[in-house]
Symmetry: C2
Subunit: 123 residues, 2 copies
């Protein structure tokens, strides 16, 4: 694949890297999937709000984020399919909340958002 014919390439290093990735292959697929979900501003805000408020319905989220109901609904479906949120039905209303699955990781991200916020206040 590579077009480079390096004198100083370290074949041992290259192979060690390949092995490391192979052993961790599944984790990278899972992780990049979750990060891709969180890597959209609307979805990141939804996740943050679900952590703060415990649960919210599509209608509330639409109000809060100023986005259409179908747009919200489609983001929610994506995250539900991705296994990071869950739904609970109460009469006509569907309440979404964070799934425990990747909660620890998401909380790490929220903590970092708070740090960024603090930094911005002093700039």
């Amino acid at each position: 694949m590579s077009a480079c014919i390096r004198l100083y390439a370290d074949p041992v290093q290259i192979n060690q890297c390949k092995e490391k990735l192979e052993q961790t292959q599944e984790a990278f697929a899972t992780m990049s999937g979750v990060l891709a979900l969180a890597g959209n501003e609307a979805r990141l805000k939804i996740l943050y709000l679900l952590e703060e408020e415990k649960e919210l319905c599509p209608c509330d989220l639409s109000d809060i984020l100023g986005m259409s109901i179908p747009a919200i609904s489609q983001h929610l479906r994506k995250m539900k399919d991705g296994g990071i949120i869950q739904a609970r039905k109460e009469r006509q209303t569907i309440f979404y909340s964070l799934k425990p699955e990747h909660l620890k990781m998401l909380r790490g991200l929220f903590k970092y958002i708070q740090q960024l916020k603090q930094q911005n206040q002093f700039v």
Copy 2:
């Protein structure tokens, strides 16, 4: 925007949520940008490898990941533009490394990848 006319919507809660988001607006934009970069399997692996190996050139990355040089180069440019990696030139070779900027957050992600790996080993 919303089509729902809820009897039980809590306008105080809705407004508190809106305010929280407004105060944190910039942080969400920054954060989702970084997560979008990490939310691609190839790029996540590149970031991980740069953490492990300190620095690597496009050619090494091409070998390790089994991807074409231009594909790697374009991912690197995207992450450089996004401010999460930096370049150093030595003769003909360009060495890329993680920028200190969001390193703390990225390390949190790498730690979580290791945890996922451990879990997979016992499934």
